[in-house]
Subunit: 91 residues, 2 copies
């Protein structure tokens, strides 16, 4: 079953309090070397049937109307090619 | 500045009420053809300096201790190759 991934991230000019909270926590946990953190959402959609250009267009519409808020968020739609599974191979 | 992406998704055997809510909303919005939706988190980390194997190991530790809950979530760490910016090219 083909899988489409929609990544939703806060726009660069939008404050991202969740990302800032993570960034602030890193030094307290002993981690250094990270200059910035942004936190967003990832949606994995399992598509019924074949992945046509029309289906991808519908997914873009879903991303724009339901999965993201276009005022404050950007989204990207990407296809995870359904590679034939290799027995025993880890993900 | 190199960017590392940490994707955190609920484990397959864990219920995902957010994903189920999206899945339930799709037909009401007129969308069909989606069999399942899983919702997770995406973190974009801007790394200071060079991206060494040691830095990546630290990011994996961050993902395990701060960014995810290993009991109910899986994470993947991937590197977004810092391609030289092309002036005027959109993302």
């Amino acid at each position: 079953m083909p899988r489409v991934v929609v990544d939703v991230m806060p726009k660069p000019e939008i404050l991202d309090p969740q990302g800032k909270a993570v960034l602030g926590a890193l030094p307290r946990l002993g981690f250094s070397g990270v200059a910035d953190v942004r936190q967003g959402k990832r949606f994995e959609l399992e598509i019924e049937g074949e992945l046509t250009e029309q289906v991808l267009g519908e997914v873009r519409q879903m991303a724009e109307t339901l999965l993201s808020n276009p005022v404050i968020e950007d989204f990207t739609v990407s296809v995870e090619t359904p590679v034939a599974p290799v027995p025993g191979a880890g993900a």
